[in-house]
Amino acid sequence: MNFFIVLRKELMEQWRTKRLLVILAVMAIFGLISPLLAKLTPDLLKSIPDMPAGLADLIPEPTLTDAVLQYVKNLEQFGILLALLMSMGSVAQEKERGTAAMMLTHPLSRAAFLLAKFAALAVTFTLSLTVAALACWYYTLLLFEALPWDSFLALNGLMLVGFFVYIAATILCSTLVRSQGAAAGLAFGALVLIAGIGSLPRIGTYFPGQLFNWGVGLALGAADPAWPALWVSLGLIVTFLGIAWLVFRRQEL
C-alpha cells in the first residue's frame, strides 16, 4: 500500500532534516531536568542571599508530586509548541515548493499523502515522549522514589493524545493555506482557541487540556477520570484530518 511507502519517506525526511533529533532532544532534556528542577528549586530558593529570617523554613521540601507536575508542565508547553512548529509546513511547504504536485502526479492518493504526514509526526512524538518518560522516570527514582510505571505510562499516553490533537489541527491549517507563515498564524490561532475553550469552567472538561490533568491525577494515584475529554480529543483528531482531506482532494496544485 502506498501509504507505507510515503510514511517511509516522511520518516526518512524527519531523520535527514534533523527534525526527529530536535523533537527527541527537546523532550528528552525536559524529561530529564523536570525531576531535577523539582528537587533543586527549594534549595535554590533557600540559597538566595539576604532572605528574611523564617522564610526559608516556609519553603516546602520537594516531593514526588512536584516532579510529576514539573514534568507535565514542561512537556505540555514544549510538546504543543513542537507540534505546531513541526507540522505547520507539512503540507503548505510542499504546495509552495511544488513537491506535492510532483509527487501527486505519481500513483499516490491525497489521503495517503496527508495521513502519512500525521503518522510520521505521531511516530516521532511517540518515540520522543518515550525517551523523555524513561529519563523522567529514572531521575525521579534517583531523586525521589519510583513512580508507578503503569499510571506513569497512562499519563504519557494521555499527553500523546493531546499532542496528536494539535498535530492534526496544524496539518489542517497547513492544508488550508499555501504558505508556511500563513499556516503558522492559523495554527497558532487554533491553538489559542482550543486552549481558550478548554479553560472555560464547564465545556473545558471536554477539551484536550483536561487530558493532562487526568494524567497527573493518574500518576499521583488521585485519578479524576476525564473520559469525555479523551473521546472528544480522538474525535477532534479524526475531524481535523477528515476536513484536511476533504479540502486537499479538491485543491489544485
Binding site: 513537491t99 502526479t105 505519481h106 500513483p107 489544485e252
Partner: protein, 309 residues
C-alpha cells in the same frame, strides 16, 4: 492517445482555456506551441490531474481524466517546467521512491535507477543531495523521474528551457528516441527545438487551438518566402526596416539588432526590389540571403505577433 474536447478553464475572471480542442495520435512527438499565457501549462496540468477543467472533456490513453486519476498516473509521465524535489534526497533515492510508488520490484527499481541516471547523464551525481543542484540538473532529473515507470504518454512542459546548448541537444535527442516507446506532448517556446523533434505541431493562443497539423504540412501550407539581411550597423537596419514594413509585398518584418528578417507575399517582386532599395538607400550590407521559412515565421504569423516595427 490524448483527446481534448472543448476544454475551458477559468481562474477567477481569467479565461485560461477557451474551448481548447486537441488530438494527439499514439507514437507521435507533438509540439505544443503558444505565446506566454496562452494556456499551454494549464492544459498540461489538467492532463496530469493537478488542475480541474471548468468545462469540457479530456482523456489520455482512453482514460477519462476525472474518472480515475490514479489509473492515469500509472500511464502518464509528467515533467513540469520547474521540477521540484525534496532537497535532502539524492537522485537515486528519489527514483527508488517513485519506483516503489509505481509498484516496481527491488531489482526493477535498482536497474531503472541506474539506467535512467545514465540516460540523463547524472550517474555521477546519483548519490549527491538534490538541494545543491542547478536548474538544469533538476530538469534532467525531472525527466528521469517522469520516465521511471516507462509511461505510455509523456507530458513535457518546456523540457529544455534551463539547459545549456549541449544539454539541450542531448535531451532533444533523447526525446526524439522516445518516439518509438511512447507518445510525447511537449510544450516549448523554443521553436527551433519543436521544429527539430516534433512531427506534429499544435499552436495555441488565448486558450484556443489555432491550428494543429503535421509539421511538414504546416510548413508547406503557411510558410511564406523570407529573406534575411545583416547590416553593418543597427541604425541602418532600423532605417531600412522602417521602409520595408510599408511595402505592399512585405508580409512581416522583424528586426534583431543588425539583422532584418522579412517575410514576403510576392517573391518575384521582392527579389527585384530588395537589393535595389538597399543600394538606393545606401544600406551597408554584410549579408543578404533568401532563407527557408521557419516554424517561427509561421508561429508569429498565426499568433498575430509579428513585429511590424
Amino acid at each position: 492517445m490524448i483527446q481534448i474536447t472543448a476544454l475551458h478553464k477559468y481562474y477567477g475572471s481569467v479565461h485560461a482555456l477557451d474551448g481548447l480542442d486537441m488530438t494527439v495520435e499514439a507514437g507521435t512527438v507533438y509540439g505544443f506551441l503558444g505565446p506566454n499565457g496562452a494556456g499551454k501549462t494549464t492544459a498540461l496540468r489538467i492532463l496530469t490531474g493537478l488542475a480541474r477543467p471548468t468545462a469540457g472533456r479530456a482523456s489520455v490513453a482512453g482514460v477519462d481524466l476525472v474518472a480515475d486519476g490514479r489509473v492515469l498516473s500509472r500511464r502518464v509521465g509528467y515533467l513540469p517546467e520547474e521540477p521540484a524535489f525534496y532537497p535532502w534526497m539524492t537522485p537515486s533515492e528519489l527514483l527508488d521512491h517513485l519506483g516503489r510508488l509505481h509498484g516496481l520490484s527491488s531489482a526493477e527499481r535498482s536497474r531503472q535507477t541506474r539506467e535512467l541516471l545514465d540516460l540523463v547523464h547524472m550517474a555521477e551525481a546519483g548519490k549527491r543531495r538534490i538541494g545543491g543542484f542547478s536548474r538544469g540538473m533538476r530538469q534532467r532529473l525531472g525527466l528521469a523521474a517522469a520516465l521511471v515507470h516507462n509511461p505510455e504518454v509523456l507530458l513535457l512542459d518546456e523540457p529544455v528551457s534551463a539547459l545549456d546548448p549541449l544539454g539541450r541537444k542531448e535531451i532533444l535527442d533523447l526525446i526524439e528516441d522516445l518516439r518509438d516507446q511512447c507518445t510525447v506532448l511537449m510544450s516549448s517556446h523554443i521553436l527551433a527545438d519543436v521544429e527539430r523533434v516534433c512531427g506534429v505541431v499544435g499552436i495555441i493562443a488565448r486558450g484556443r487551438m489555432i491550428i494543429q497539423s503535421p509539421r511538414e504540412k504546416l510548413m508547406e501550407s503557411y510558410a511564406r518566402p523570407a529573406f534575411e539581411f545583416e547590416t553593418v550597423d543597427a541604425a541602418s537596419a532600423l532605417r531600412w526596416a522602417d521602409w520595408l514594413k510599408v511595402q505592399p509585398w512585405a508580409a512581416a518584418v522583424r528586426l534583431e539588432k543588425v539583422v532584418v528578417r522579412i517575410t514576403v507575399n510576392d517573391i518575384a517582386r521582392a527579389r527585384q526590389e530588395l537589393l535595389a532599395s538597399a543600394v538606393a538607400q545606401e544600406i551597408p550590407l554584410r549579408r543578404f540571403e533568401e532563407v527557408r521559412p521557419s516554424l517561427e515565421d509561421i508561429f508569429l504569423q498565426l499568433t498575430d505577433r509579428e513585429t511590424t516595427l
